[in-house]
Amino acid sequence: MSLTLLNVIVAVVIAIAFAAANAAYLVWAERRGAARIQRRPGPNINGPFGLLQPPLDGIKLMTKQLMIPGGADKILFMVAPVLAMAPAIMSFVTIPFSEGIAAHNMELGVLVIFAFASMGAMAILFAGWGSRNKYSVMASVRAVSQNVSYEIPMLITAITVVMTTGSMDLKMISMAQSGGFWHWNIFPSLQSPLMPISFIIFFICSLAETNRAPFDLGEAESELVAGFHTEYGSMGFGLFFMGEYANIVIGASLTTILFLGGWDCPFGMFPGVWWFLLKIYLLIATFIWIRWTFPRTTIYGLLNLSWKILIPISLFNLLLTAGLLKVF
């Protein structure tokens, strides 16, 4: 076994372990956070602070029978949950956690992550179509139109950042922001005075891309039973669930790298992986906070927000940045 192959295996194992651990314990954090906001204690029976709840939930899901509804498209039905989880894990490979910690640094890291992220919509489409269930089809139509329309402003804001940095390499983008918080992309610079707005647009888009409330129209329980995963039980559902949380971690990591300086310390002290983790978990806490604050939007409100507000503003921002880059 050559050393590079060993490296790849170790990297993949770490990526899977990190994704699975995050998925499991973010569910716990989500439930505890939601409970605190609603002034209840949340899961607190199994273990201290309910910390044994996620592994027990996992055991419960794994011991259940995998049911395939009659008339379902078996291949699509089985492929969809795997497709929801696999791209999320693959995206971890390119994310640099700090200067030295990256499974495989690619020059086109931004592109790779967006390419994998767009596969998530395919998993939802397959799940909805393969289930042979009206609710699932309606949910997947909604989710796909949502994912397509939010990918546009997300990519445009990412392009704005890439233009100011001059690189698609996630490591380079992060390094370019090092040396104190005033270098971070979130703050307005001479070349790009509308950066805070780009950050907000990117954040909203990453909420929508991960199908999180208030944009969780793909699973709108009150209207569509459970949306695209209505027919899934057992670990099929478990994979969708884990995929959602893994995608949240990737969304937060990408936001951190593009706008919040990656592993850079705000005061120039002790740069390292802990700053990166602190930033992504703060962003994830905000995700959870938003989910338990706002009610679900309508599909019209959702698409109007993207096409009438986010896309024009991000396009204007792109043109402004392009022009100012020529000037300065």
Partner: protein, 152 residues
């Protein structure tokens, strides 16, 4: 065009207000009761099933007049009595003593007519609300036995 930007502005502002409310709620103490471990104290006017009241000697205050049985619209109370000779001031008197008091709680509508009609203040509502069972027989209460258990 003016409406467009003011919509964005006031929309974002209202979102921030909502988020500040949930942020404040996050740090407030919880208000729920951890049910199997903690239970609520029922209010004074809570109506559970009926219960006999004991006198100073621990005997039921009930004189077995049967008013409750007659008042009950659902017919869920059945009581029996025996006459016992007791000595009062050197004379032997006959007195009715309650020997059986059964409540069929499956039929009871908790109207409270029995408590209302009792002239001797011998009935009360219990504060028991953990009444769940899979068997019908569990709701046929022997109130005399329950009184003895409470006295013990």
């Amino acid at each position: 065009m003016g409406g467009y930007f003011s919509d964005i502005f006031y929309g974002s502002k209202s979102l921030l207000i909502g988020m500040s409310i949930t942020f404040r709620e996050f740090f407030k103490p919880t208000v729920t009761v951890q049910y199997p471990y903690q239970t609520l104290k029922m209010s004074a006017r809570f109506r559970g099933h009926i219960e006999l009241i004991a006198d100073e000697d621990g005997k039921p205050k009930c004189v077995a007049c049967g008013m409750c049985q007659r008042a009950c619209p659902s017919g869920c109370i059945s009581l029996e009595s025996v006459s016992v000779d007791i000595e009062v001031d050197g004379k032997v008197k006959k007195k009715k003593v309650l020997s059986k008091y059964d409540l069929d709680f499956t039929k009871c509508s908790l109207c409270g007519q029995c408590v209302e009609n009792c002239n001797f203040g011998a009935l009360e509502f219990s504060k028991e609300y953990n009444l769940a069972s899979t068997r019908k027989e569990d709701f046929h209460f022997n109130l005399l036995k329950r009184l003895e258990e409470r006295n013990a």
